[in-house]
Structure formats: structure tokens, C-alpha cells
């Protein structure tokens, strides 16, 4: 019921809101209140999870910190609102949060009917299926008649139905509200398989008591470009979020890391100089400090550092860079140039 209440509150907020959104509204409001309010996943290892001290960590949290670094020059000037899948879009629509950094898939329906705008992709994902090794299944096409645990109300539910129908096999969904709940139900044996974005499956497997008992099947059910979303109607704010992501990617491409950023200030590479604000007035157009990208890299790190620390080789998840590698290294991470 708590969820319904939040939604109701958001509806009421829309009912009483007096003015329509105007250009610059969000951007000005963020500057005025002195922090960025990010809508995040309440608990997804590697992407956003509070540690034992209550500090939020993860790839999506780093995205939020980077936006704070862009706007205020201080990555700590952010606050988070944990949101379930049901709450997330309404919370953004009604202005409860300024930006959604919550592993949400960019789709045309969300951009065109929900009044939202995807700003870019900070993780290229795909939907997959995880099963117990003991089941002896090698491919999702062997799952005819299986019970599948699925998270409520995500694109996952649709992709699952589409994939099974196109392969002319049947399944019984068991729809669970939270991803941990779904995985626990699956672990207990209520479902033969559970489906979600592969990064989530890896995260859930890593946090289970016996990670080696599970196997993620090779099939990809869908494309899931996950990235930050903002409300429509504020181009300035949209650009701040989009270019924050680009700056993190550009920094990685040009080898600027949180460790060498001070030396890089003296680099004679014109690209590096533009990114770090030594040369040119790139920040001004965005309405932020010229050294915004420097602030991001110094305080948060470049995209690759954030990836390795949260979901990649230095994390318990140990996800491959795969599609998320730079375009120069066989991936599809291709930042628009800062020039």
C-alpha cells in the first residue's frame, strides 16, 4: 500500500502544481537548493546499494555524483530517493527527483508518452535467464512449461512473453515485486528460472550464498540500454546530464584518470586540454564551471574507473566490459566529442 500512497501523492502533486514546467526550471531549482536529487534503485549490487555505513555506492550512484560534480564542483552535493520500478517514472514526472539514475531502459514509449527524456546510456545490458545448474538446461529454448520468476512491471515482462511466444513454447510467470524477492523465491525452488537484465542476474548471483550453483543462459532476449532520464521541458538540465556522461567517457578514452588528472592538466594534447577546461570555454555553454570535467574525474573517476570499481574486475560482480568497452576497444561506448 505504501507504493500506492507514493503514487497517489505524486498524483496529488500534479493536481496542485500551479505552473507548467518551463525551460531552465529544473536547472535553476537544482542550483538554488544546492544539491541534486537522484532517483535510484533501492538495492542493486554494483549499481546502487548502501554499504554497512549507509553510504550509497555503485555505477548509477557514480553517475549521480558526477552530475553533482558538474553542477557544483562537488560530487558530494547529491541526495538520493530510492524508488521501486512502480514509483520511478511518477517520481520523476512529478518533480520529486531531478534525474533518474536508476538502471532504466530507454524506450520510445517512455520518451513519447511519459514526458521523459533519455540522456544517454551508461550501461548496455540485455535480458537473460538464470537457472540452477542442477536442472541441466543449456538453452532457454529448453524451458517449455517452466515457471519463471519475473520482476513486476518492467520491460522484462514483455520481452519474456514475446520471446517465449516467438519460440512457440509456454511458461508460467510468477510475478514478484522486488528483484531480491524474486531471486529468493527462485532459490527456494518456486520457479525453474528467473529473468531480468543480465547485470542484475549477475549481481543477485554474486550476493547469493552459493554463486556456483547458478548458470546464466546464453540467450539475449532484448536490448536494454540503461541510462539516466530527465523530465522534458528543460533543455539546459538535459544537456548537463548528457554531457556529464560524455565527459566520463571522453576522459577514459583519452586516458585521464582520477590518479593522473593533475599531470594531465599540463598535457599538450588539445583534446585533453579542452576536456579539462585548460583551453576553451566548454563549460560556459552548459552554464557550469569550465573545469567541470576535471571535477568529475578528480572526485568520481572516469567511466572505466567507475565500471571496474563497481561492476567490473575490481568488484565482486566481475562483469566483462563487453559492449560497455570503449569503441576503440571493441565496445559501443562512443562519447560525443567535447569540442
Amino acid at each position: 500500500m505504501n507504493k500506492a500512497l507514493t503514487l497517489l501523492a505524486a498524483g496529488v502533486a500534479l493536481a496542485f502544481a500551479s505552473t507548467a514546467a518551463q525551460a531552465g526550471d529544473t536547472y535553476n531549482a537544482v542550483k538554488k537548493k544546492g544539491f541534486v536529487q537522484c532517483g535510484i534503485n533501492p538495492g542493486l549490487p554494483g549499481f546502487s546499494l548502501a554499504d554497512s555505513k549507509g553510504v550509497w555506492k555503485g555505477l548509477d550512484i557514480d553517475m549521480c555524483r558526477a552530475i553533482a560534480a558538474t553542477v557544483f564542483g562537488d560530487a558530494s552535493k547529491f541526495k538520493v530517493t530510492p524508488l521501486t520500478t512502480q514509483q520511478r517514472f511518477t517520481a520523476l514526472q512529478s518533480g520529486e527527483v531531478d534525474v533518474l539514475t536508476r538502471n532504466s531502459t530507454a524506450t520510445i514509449a517512455r520518451d513519447t508518452t511519459l514526458g521523459l527524456m533519455s540522456t544517454g546510456t551508461n550501461y548496455y545490458d540485455s535480458q537473460g535467464v538464470i537457472v540452477k545448474k542442477s536442472l541441466g538446461v543449456k538453452s532457454a529454448s529448453e524451458l517449455d512449461g517452466a515457471s519463471v520468476c519475473v520482476l513486476q512491471g518492467t520491460t522484462t515482462e514483455l520481452n519474456l512473453a514475446d520471446w517465449f511466444r516467438s519460440h512457440k513454447i509456454t511458461y508460467k510467470p510468477v510475478v514478484i515485486e522486488t528483484s531480491e524477492g524474486g531471486f529468493r523465491t527462485f532459490e527456494a525452488g518456486r520457479c525453474d528460472a528467473t529473468t531480468s537484465d543480465k547485470s542484475q542476474l549477475a549481481a543477485l548471483r554474486a550476493s547469493s550464498s552459493a554463486p556456483d550453483d547458478f548458470v546464466i543462459l546464453p540467450e539475449d532476449f532484448s536490448k536494454e540500454p540503461l541510462g539516466p532520464m530527465v523530465r522534458q521541458g528543460d533543455d539546459e538540465w538535459f544537456m548537463v546530464v548528457r554531457w556529464t556522461l560524455n565527459a566520463m567517457l571522453e576522459a577514459e578514452e583519452y586516458g585521464i584518470t582520477s590518479k593522473n588528472v593533475e599531470q594531465m592538466l599540463k598535457s599538450d594534447n588539445p583534446n585533453v586540454q579542452r576536456i579539462l577546461g585548460v583551453n576553451g570555454e566548454m563549460g560556459k555553454g552548459l552554464g557550469v564551471d569550465n573545469r567541470w570535467a576535471y571535477n568529475i574525474v578528480k572526485q568520481v573517476g572516469n567511466y572505466g574507473e567507475s565500471f571496474d570499481r563497481n561492476v567490473g574486475k575490481d568488484s565482486p560482480l566481475k562483469l566483462d566490459r563487453g559492449l560497455n568497452a570503449q569503441w576503440t576497444k571493441g565496445g559501443v561506448m562512443y562519447a560525443w566529442p567535447i569540442r
Partner: protein
């Protein structure tokens, strides 16, 4: 003209004929206050609706109920009617509503039976029985329902064996963490047998009415129970015979990942029903207990003095009088049960809230989605309330 229309009928006002349009007339004042309040409320609603729509439009958010015709695209675990992902969102809502109604009806009947027994047990002279009933009531009433639902769900999914090691207490009956599988009937005889059953139930109701009349008139009692049992057995059997005995028993068999065929009670439905029934029964038990205690002690003594046994006193003298007291609080319990069924979302039973949440999340039409849920509960609750009020009036003591 208007003045005449508003004026109370001559019968009500007695001698007074003309309306005095004066502020000192309390009736006039009341009318003015009420019209003013109505205007204010109307204005507020209009303002909220108008402003919401304007804000939604300004934020490029689609509004309206057109999405109900779109293809839903997601599956639903259990449904009383045919449903596939190619059906519309509207049909998905209907599936959810029927699931809610199913759980509510079964839950209300079961909770009433269990609650009444517990309430009577609470007052038993055997202190073991009354003590146990008391403990049950206190424990159930003091644990939040959500926790109880989690408990029942965990009991099925984590404690029960897997499908391949299913526990089989009777041939072709399987209990596993996939739920309870029972043999079921299949074939064209089913409709005939169901028709026979409906006919038998109707006949029993008529028969009981007639036997009561006869007993009141002549004092002769009629063996109602054996007659009804005979009817309930004979009429479906007759239907089966007429239709050419065309049915087979559909036995569940383990095939692939799970049992195929037969009738299933899923763990989600079981957990929800078990939780709702055991929880609400505790409250109903208290309602029944207080109702019984509200009947004057003299009624017990008077009935006992003509030599009736305690059980017969309870059945023929006390419970009929108890009904008058318990119907209003019982109505509240029924409404609570229906509304509490929305907690189904926590354990994955596809009730109307769960289904509409999914739709709301896919279409993003939060306001419409919540409106559908609210309207559904409002209609169901008001229907129950109306029925119970009608029943209450019928049962109420007619004083002359």
C-alpha cells in the same frame, strides 16, 4: 415554482403551507448551507481535475483510458477466464478483478465458518477448548497480516519438496513447492453435472424454506439434511447419465519441469487464502463471541428449562438472536478481508492491484491506474455493504 418544489410536502410540515424565505427559518438556512457546500466541493473537484489535466499536458504525459484497448503483452500466472499476452490491457484488468473476487468470496465463506466455530469455542465450558481458541485469537490479531502472508508463502515455497520429489498423500494428489495438484474432470458431462448441482442447491433452499413454514404452522419437523444430501448426489449423477457419461478424469502427471493437467492451487493463492482466512477468522470469532454474550442469560435458562440440550439451545435460540447483533461488525470484517486481499502483490498473486500496477508501470498512466483500482474496490465494497445492509434489515427485530 422553485419554491414550491423545494418546500416539504404538506404531510411532513403539517399545518404550515407557505415557505418563508427568511434567514431565521432553519430549513431555509440548511438549504442555503448545503447548496453552498455542494458548490464548493464541485468547484474543488473541477479545479483539481482541470489542473491535473493541464499539468499532465504541459509535461507531455499521455492521459485517458485509451490504453485499455492496447495489447497487454505480459502473461498472468493464473486466470479464471481465457487470457494470453495478445489480449488487451482491459482484459488483463478483468482477469485481476476476477482473481480478487475469487479470493474474496472463498475467503469470506471460509473465514465466516472458521470464525464462527472459534467464537463458539471461545465460550465453551471446556477450558482447554476455550483457552486454545483464546490463544489463537490473540496471536492472530496481534501479528500484522503482511508478515503472516510471508510466513505462509515461505512455508509453501521453502519447506515443501520440489516438484520431482512431490509429496503424494493420495494417488494423483501432489503437494510440492509448485502448489497443490488435484485430479480434475474433463469432458462435456461437466456442464451437465454443474447444472445438476445448481438445481440441487436451489431445490434444497426451497425445501428448507418450505420445511420451516410447515414446522411453524404444524409443528411437524422434516428430515431436511438427508433429503438435501440425496438431492445433491442424485441430480449431478442424473446430469452425468443424461449427457452420455462423457468425461474423463484428468490426472496430474509429472512432465518436464512441473505437473501437467489436473487442477492447481498455486502457492500464491494458497498463501493468500490461508493468511486472509486465519487472520480475519480471529476478528470474526470476537464478533461472534460478543454477539453470543449480548444475548440475555435468561434466554439460555429459559431454553434449558424446556429440556433442550446446550447445542440445540445454541442453534435454535441463541444464534438466531446473535445474528442481529453481529451483522454490522461482520460487514466491516468482510470489507477488511476484501481490501486486505490487495496485499497479494507482496507474494505475487495476480490480483487487481498487482495486474494494474504492472499496467501502470508499462504505460506510465499512474493516475488512471490508481483510479481503476480505487473504482474497483469502491464498487466491490459498496456492493458488499449494500447486501449486508439489506440482510441486516431483513434480520432486524421487527418491533410493533
Amino acid at each position: 415554482m422553485a419554491g414550491q418544489d423545494l418546500a416539504p410536502s404538506p404531510r411532513a410540515t403539517g399545518a404550515r403551507r407557505a415557505r418563508r424565505w427568511s434567514w431565521n427559518d432553519p430549513t431555509t438556512r440548511a438549504i442555503i448551507y448545503q447548496v453552498g457546500l455542494l458548490l464548493l466541493v464541485g468547484l474543488l473537484i473541477w479545479y483539481l481535475a482541470h489542473n491535473t489535466l493541464r499539468n499532465l499536458a504541459a509535461r507531455n504525459i499521455t492521459t485517458g483510458f485509451d490504453f485499455l484497448q492496447q495489447r497487454a503483452g505480459f502473461s498472468i500466472g493464473e486466470s479464471a477466464i481465457e487470457y494470453s499476452p495478445t489480449d488487451s490491457y482491459g482484459r488483463a484488468v478483468l482477469v485481476g478483478l476476477l482473481n480478487t473476487l475469487m479470493v474474496s468470496v472463498v475467503g469470506i465463506v471460509a473465514a465466516t465458518v472458521l470464525g464462527t466455530l472459534l467464537g463458539i469455542g471461545r465460550l465453551a465450558r471446556n477450558s482447554l477448548v476455550s483457552g486454545l481458541c483464546g490463544i489463537y485469537i490473540e496471536v492472530m490479531r496481534n501479528i500484522p497480516l503482511l508478515l503472516q502472508l510471508y510466513f505462509w508463502y515461505a512455508l509453501v515455497t521453502e519447506v515443501m519438496p520440489s516438484a520431482r520429489k512431490a509429496f503424494s498423500p493420495l494417488p494423483s494428489v501432489f503437494i510440492s513447492n509448485r502448489g497443490l495438484r488435484l485430479p480434475w474432470l474433463q469432458g462435456n458431462a461437466i456442464e451437465w453435472m454443474l447444472g445438476g448441482l445448481a438445481l440441487a442447491i436451489a431445490a434444497c433452499l426451497l425445501l428448507s424454506h418450505w420445511s420451516r413454514r410447515r414446522q411453524e404452522a404444524s409443528g411437524r419437523s422434516f428430515a431436511l439434511l438427508p433429503a438435501c444430501v440425496a438431492l445433491l448426489l442424485a441430480l449431478p449423477a442424473l446430469g452425468w447419465w443424461i449427457s452420455g457419461a462423457g468425461f474423463v478424469v484428468d490426472r496430474p502427471v509429472l512432465k518436464g519441469f512441473n505437473f501437467q493437467g489436473g487442477f492447481t492451487v498455486t502457492p500464491e493463492m494458497f498463501a493468500l487464502l490461508a493468511g486472509l482466512v486465519t487472520y480475519t477468522a480471529a476478528y470474526i470469532a470476537e464478533v461472534v463471541r460478543s454477539g453470543i454474550q449480548a444475548v440475555n442469560k435468561g434466554q439460555w435458562e429459559a431454553a434449558a428449562s424446556i429440556g433442550l440440550s446446550r447445542a440445540r439451545v445454541l442453534r435454535f435460540v441463541i444464534l438466531p438472536q446473535t445474528m442481529r447483533v453481529v451483522i454490522p461488525p461482520m460487514t466491516s470484517q468482510y470489507l477488511n478481508l476484501v481490501k486486505n486481499s490487495s496485499l497479494a502483490v507482496a507474494i505475487g498473486y495476480p490480483d487487481i492491484v498487482a495486474v494494474t500496477n504492472t499496467i501502470l508501470n508499462q504505460t506510465g498512466q499512474a493516475i488512471e491506474g490508481i483510479a481503476i483500482i480505487m473504482a474497483a474496490y469502491l464498487v466491490v465494497s459498496l456492493s458488499i455493504s449494500l447486501f449486508m445492509n439489506w440482510y441486516n434489515k431483513r434480520m432486524a427485530l421487527v418491533e410493533r
